[in-house]
Subunit: 154 residues, 2 copies
């Protein structure tokens, strides 16, 4: 499976855009009922009276949609091994019913593991874009990837 | 509704524990299929071969469960107005089928808005605990709350 994207292929400065995900009102309300039952994610009037200015998706729902797009468009075709956490999430704009979302990632840094010669760490900025090309969510995190050719630890 | 929890009630150093959420295998797999279809969240064998050491919930699923517990045990009974993002998430231990989770929050800092006399910002550490009392997820963020008595901006 060396044709998959490996650590060596991820070079600081790389930018990629991909994916298409249409969000429905039903999905926004269903996610909120399950995981974030704040009124502005469940009801138009409550949304209009909130800082969202209308019904808008839970920020965590946006994180899940971004993960889904990134998994299908990138990670599942890579040697990715997972992430230990998230460095930052910014919820910049509301996600509305009918929005068509896509992802953009930028490689910020890459370094081989200091202890394991078969892997390395890559820092990303992931952005979730709406149909107008506006960034609705920005997220930074480090992901571990297998190396195509194990080498000397850094 | 001045009996709800307001900005004035949230004092640095305050710690609260609350909630009970039992996670099923079905829910772990359903969330992953929808939002994080990486094999270690979908299949026992893939989980065992991964850094999770067995089937484990998506980290984003853990964030959603923590949000749900915090919403029902705290935010929905407060003047909370929302958060603009997350300062950090650490996924410290796997979340397994059958785990019974609860939440703990610590108030780290609180400051009135500099521009709006009716609100203030509170920084929290939110932790998701398993049935052994181990922290499986740690998250820091700032949340905006209405003030019970509008006052001078700081």
């Amino acid at each position: 499976m060396t044709d998959r994207i490996h650590f060596e292929d991820l070079v600081p400065g790389d930018v990629r855009e991909y994916g298409r995900y249409e969000v429905t009102r039903e999905e926004i309300v269903a996610f909120a009922a399950e995981y974030d039952p704040q009124p502005m994610h469940l009801d138009e009037n409550a949304g209009a009276a909130s800082l969202l200015g209308g019904l808008g998706a839970s920020g965590w729902h946006g994180c899940g949609i971004l993960m889904k797009i990134v998994a299908e468009g990138f990670i599942l075709n890579s040697s990715g091994m997972g992430a230990g956490g998230i460095d930052e999430v910014k919820w910049l704009r509301p996600i509305r019913p009918g929005d068509v979302l896509s992802a953009r990632h930028t490689v910020l840094a890459a370094r081989p593991s200091r202890t394991k010669p078969d892997r390395g760490f890559v820092d990303f900025r992931f952005e979730l874009l709406n149909g107008k090309g506006e960034v609705v969510l920005e997220q930074r995190c480090g992901v571990m990837f297998g190396r195509r050719v194990p080498g000397e630890p850094a």
